[in-house]
Amino acid sequence: MESKQKLEALHLQIQDMLAGYVDDELDEREACLVEAHLAGCEACARDVVRQQMLHEKLGAIPHEQMAPAQKSRLDNVLENALQKNGARHAALAALRRRAGHWFRFVEDRWMAAGGWSLAVFLAVIMVFNASWRHPDGGIPMVEDVVAEYQHIAVSPLPNAEPVATAQPPASWPRARVLASWRTRISGKPAQAYAVRSDNKVLLQVKVGEQVFYNNPKVRKAVADAGRYEVLEQGLKVVALPLDHGGLLLVGPPEGMPDAGTMSLKSF
């Protein structure tokens, strides 16, 4: 009776090893144990064959590929991230190299004053590094929308959503939606609209509150003047609050609509 229970326990234990047997992931001792069991257990032997078949059949399923428009958007986002962060890494690496040279110099010639020199040097590094990250107090969401604008200026417009139903947050006379697509600003989902206004193309990007109000400069400007404006790489960026989140309007300064003619939708 006891041996029957032991055999049943072994049967249950081995069932959890059958995948390992099929995939050749068992060690020699385990494989021998399973093989001995399979010789006397038809149910487990059948299970092994079914698992082999499933493995082969599932392995033959082709992998979906991204659509060209999706690849283009991904390329855009990653290129921006790589450029920004890559430059930072390069600067830090250069600093580290310089720090190494300096340290050797100080060690060789100024050993007596080394403590002070090193302290001053490290303070310089910290200040330089902090200011390097945001050389002009740059705002990530502004940098991202400018990069998005620069991308659509040289690439085919993404057209992920039907233009007819697209409703950009801002409208003004002679504004016409050319394309609408999802993007990411400051790492968060956002909705972008390319809008033709006379002979200029402007970009509207609707972002969430968390992104819009993240920067103190923007918060203060919106509280004081109802909007935040900045010139970045020759483009004007206007940040306007919406009911839930905010709008970033990007384009050439001369192509921006007058505030008086522009109406904002509530979302």
Binding site: A43, C44, R50, Q70, R73, V77, L82
Partner: protein, 187 residues
């Protein structure tokens, strides 16, 4: 610049495969695109942490898994009951289609989409290991690292997951194919 080049060389070739996984998991191309984008941005942020003991693809899948988990979908699915069936399960024993030959024919009759839907309908813990092993071709060691579970757990979940999948496929095929199965001549 070397870091960028290394990232482009090691990581970017996997973006389509990541998308395929994200699409299978979410069933929505826009969500899949967002998840891949998030995963690749995190990969770039944490690129220096990529260790030699894990393959690049497994590392990326681990990040993608974390991105998906952040959206709570997986945690909701984890609450599903995870049945454990034995090789002695009545359906597998009584049903002639469960025998190797007829089962193979049952399997051949399945479209890829049907198979993927069947895998996705498994409880999440099982669906993940079946997908990572059988569709993505990862080793048990890599799966263990992706899911942060012991290798033995990978093996038991895979054994049970495949068994559940076989039962599910047999159940789906049952209404139409049962008579042919019984004659051992499934068409």
């Amino acid at each position: 610049m070397k870091r960028q080049e290394k990232f482009q060389r090691l990581v970017r070739p996997w973006q389509d495969r990541l998308y395929a996984v994200a699409l299978r998991r979410s069933g929505n191309s826009a969500v899949a695109e967002d998840r891949v984008q998030d995963a690749l941005l995190r990969a770039w942020r944490d690129f220096d942490a990529l260790a030699d003991e894990i393959s690049v693809y497994a590392w990326l899948l681990k990040i993608l898994d974390h991105v998906s988990a952040d959206e709570h979908r997986r945690d909701q699915r984890r609450q599903q009951l995870a049945p454990v069936i034995s090789t002695g399960e009545p359906l597998l024993q009584k049903h002639p289609c469960a025998a190797p030959g007829p089962f193979e024919q049952t399997l051949q009759g399945q479209q890829h989409e049907q198979l993927l839907a069947a895998v996705e309908s498994l409880p999440d813990d099982f669906a993940m290991v079946v997908m990572l092993r059988d569709i993505e071709g990862l080793s048990y060691r890599d799966i263990a690292q992706v899911l942060e579970i012991p290798k033995g757990t990978v093996m038991s979940r895979l054994s049970r997951g495949r068994r559940l999948l076989a039962r599910l496929l047999l159940k789906q095929a049952e209404p139409n194919q049962m008579p042919d199965c019984e004659n051992g001549a499934l068409t």
